[in-house]
Subunit: 450 residues, 2 copies
């Protein structure tokens, strides 16, 4: 949908010597980056369309091109590598991802190449470092050509078309990409790479990183359930559908507390349970009829929200444990789509905001004094650090008011101060960043860009 960038000013040369090729063969998708000097598009007819809008001009007549295939269609990938990229027998092929092992024999047999296996996490980090450098070079060049170059804003838009920025935030209010000026030192940072599974890395320098953990609810979960529920054939289809969906299948606070009361304890539209409303729907029909009565757009939306919010929360918690406040979300799950970036950013912010609010409440004695002056205020929720997805009803039992959980200032009740003690220091804002080439970090790293 976006126009090709091949006419944009060249970026800093980062590749030297022969044409570069990098493969990242994951559980669902095989990603390819390759450098070329000419127009190759016509030769790829009948295969996956390349991601033209991602092309990077290397400034020496070569362009980095990007394309992905379904891993289960390795034949297409092999044809593409031979006929379009021009891979020849005897050549070395840089491969990362689990497929570097699983398809080693197939690739070397069909193409006659020597497979170089590249560590998945190292490739991811190399790809990220390359993109951060390209972003900084590009930002400085843009600033040099702008009259507003003397501005010293730390972060913020520079008036560049947002879709061109290599690194950006996603503004959940305007629902737009916001280019960022990265600080000189962006470390420490987390990388949450969302493919079929999820890997989470902490890096304190480009070459100093640790894979902290992974989790099993990722892109493969969305795709698997979407295939079962409405015969989705690709992840892109799920995300496209989800952008037209509504969250009618999720249980909200108002569904638990009733329309009248919801607003007194929590915003009624707070998400309580993904897919939690289905059980309350028509019980007289079969699952087949029920599925037939639901819009696949709505199912897709609930799937994306479920996974994104969960990952946002896990990233927030890992950031708290490991004292990192900047996180790059990457992987083909995100795919530069507004809804995935929106829901992930909201997921992180939901928790970050409320931890921060709890901290600042605890740090302001007058709030506490005011709370103590109103011990019998009705309908105040139990002390809670976060606007909870599953909300607390408010005790209204007169006879037990001495134990009333709504009395935030009560000496026996937990308050935000306890939370603040646990956190150790005031929570800083959490910086959630995305990359235009989000799905291609691994193969960029594998192709030899250091």
């Amino acid at each position: 949908m976006r126009s090709s960038e091949s006419s944009a000013p060249p970026l800093t040369p980062a590749l030297a010597g022969a044409p570069k090729i990098g493969l990242d063969v994951g559980g669902s998708l095989a990603k390819v980056v390759f450098s070329s000097t000419g127009e190759t598009h016509n030769q790829s007819e009948g295969l996956s369309p390349p991601d033209d809008h991602l092309e990077l001009d290397l400034g020496d007549g070569r362009t980095l091109r990007f394309i992905h295939f379904q891993t289960k269609q390795m034949g297409d990938l092999i044809t593409f590598l031979r006929d379009v990229v021009g891979v020849r027998p005897g050549q070395a092929l840089e491969v990362t991802g689990g497929g570097a092992f699983k398809y080693q024999d197939l690739l070397s047999k069909k193409l006659g190449v020597q497979i170089h296996k590249n560590d998945e996490m190292q490739s991811l980090m190399n790809g990220l470092s390359f993109l951060i450098r390209q972003h900084s070079h590009s930002t400085r060049r843009m600033q040099g050509s702008e009259t507003s170059a003397s501005s010293s804003r730390g972060f913020g838009s520079r008036g560049r078309p947002a879709t061109d920025s290599i690194v950006f935030r996603f503004d959940v209010t305007s629902r737009t990409r916001v280019p960022v000026d990265l600080e000189e030192n962006v470390y420490p940072l987390l990388v949450v790479n969302i493919g079929s599974g999820v890997s989470i890395l902490k890096a304190t320098a480009p070459d100093k990183f640790l894979r902290v953990t992974g989790t099993c609810i990722g892109g493969g979960t969305v795709l698997g359930l979407a295939r079962l529920l409405f015969n989705a054939s690709s992840f892109e289809e799920v995300v496209r559908l989800s952008e037209k969906g509504e969250d009618v299948l999720d249980l909200k606070v108002r569904d638990l507390f009733g329309e009248r009361s919801g607003s007194r304890v929590l915003p009624g539209d707070t998400l309580a349970s993904s897919f939690g409303k289905i059980y309350a729907l028509n019980t007289c029909v079969s699952a087949t009829e029920l599925r037939g009565s639901l819009r696949k757009e709505d199912i897709a939306r609930s799937l994306i929200h479920m996974v994104s919010y969960n990952l946002g929360y896990i990233a927030y918690l890992i950031g708290s444990v490991h004292r990192v406040r900047r996180v790059f979300f990457a992987g083909k799950y995100i795919n530069d789509r507004p809804l995935t970036m929106q829901s992930i950013t909201e997921g992180v912010n939901f928790y970050a905001r409320h931890y921060a609010e709890a901290w600042h409440r605890a740090a302001q004695p007058h709030d506490r004094a005011r709370a103590q002056a109103e011990p019998h205020a009705e309908n105040r929720p139990a002390p809670t650090a976060l606007s909870p997805p599953a909300a607390s009803a408010t005790r209204q039992h007169e006879a037990q008011e001495g134990h009333d959980a709504s009395t935030e200032g009560s000496p026996t009740m937990g308050t935000a101060a306890d939370l603040a003690d646990d956190l150790g220091s005031p929570p800083e804002p959490f910086d959630v960043l995305f990359l235009r080439h989000d799905g291609y970090l691994g193969c960029l790293g594998a192709c030899g860009i250091i």
Copy 2:
């Protein structure tokens, strides 16, 4: 399936005065506890069967009885309260959960009662405190009557039938409940209450607690998806089915890396992506045919594993942020079923074990020295704190071995020591506890047990 406990020795009296009734009306289920002096079972014919095996003898001729209804069948609940429990007009009814708001008008109109709303979190904590006290009394009484009473083991089985223990661990190897002797002071602790949604509390004393957070992937998600996928009619049905299922729908490490290579980097059966294997299944059939070819037992198992592992991990992270190492899992999601307790315990242990291993590796310099002596060892995974669900391929690229991520001792690479620094202190074992009355904490607390 288990026999009634009504003939067991009476527990410590904890209720005084009139018959007690507590209701907890959640998003999917309405739970009821009530005290009675006689046999009431015959009168509940045609309604939900009561949870007879949970009955608690109060030692004064009264017995606490437990029963649950589907929230969408409030008529059954109202009939039961009037005809079996004997609720009369003018009486006060203690209610907690979102339904205390949502169904306030319905309940007071149909039964002519006055609704006392009880804070959900306070009720949960009161119910937990009551059960912990009952467990301790019961344990001491059992010890007094045993010849092995002089044993001073801190935790462990006392030879009591495991199914009778109010508080217990679940041993994932023998797949059995293990009764525990709780320490005098069990605080601080986390409570992860899994209903339709999930609430997570931190308590530093019975009456000092804070709702830390919630998350949207809980029982409602399992039930909603199970209804859509194979027409499940209750959560109990899903769990029963899941216990006969196999994990054939989940993407494992061996699916990513291939059978031959999987074992070199990670155990091949490590979970990489819940439902992640579906996408690789037969692509020529429709979703309807595909669903028809799958066993609902296997779908149920993947659903339970997905939610349990995720909650186990989130509990582990919250425990790390808030410096708590003991967690009670409760809520009707668990329902005292082996598979839910197994998968939750495994979920916590998976991460706790590997964080602990990383710490101890970092604390043993000879391991580090040995790693440095083998910088060119082949097939060693990238430094990783955890056996990752999505695994790291191993770099085998000779030309770049200087940057080889497999060199754990390399001065530029992150090591377990970084992780240890972040954690601040050696990770202690994580104590995962369950309660026989897991779904009834809220209504136990609401019924006036302090």
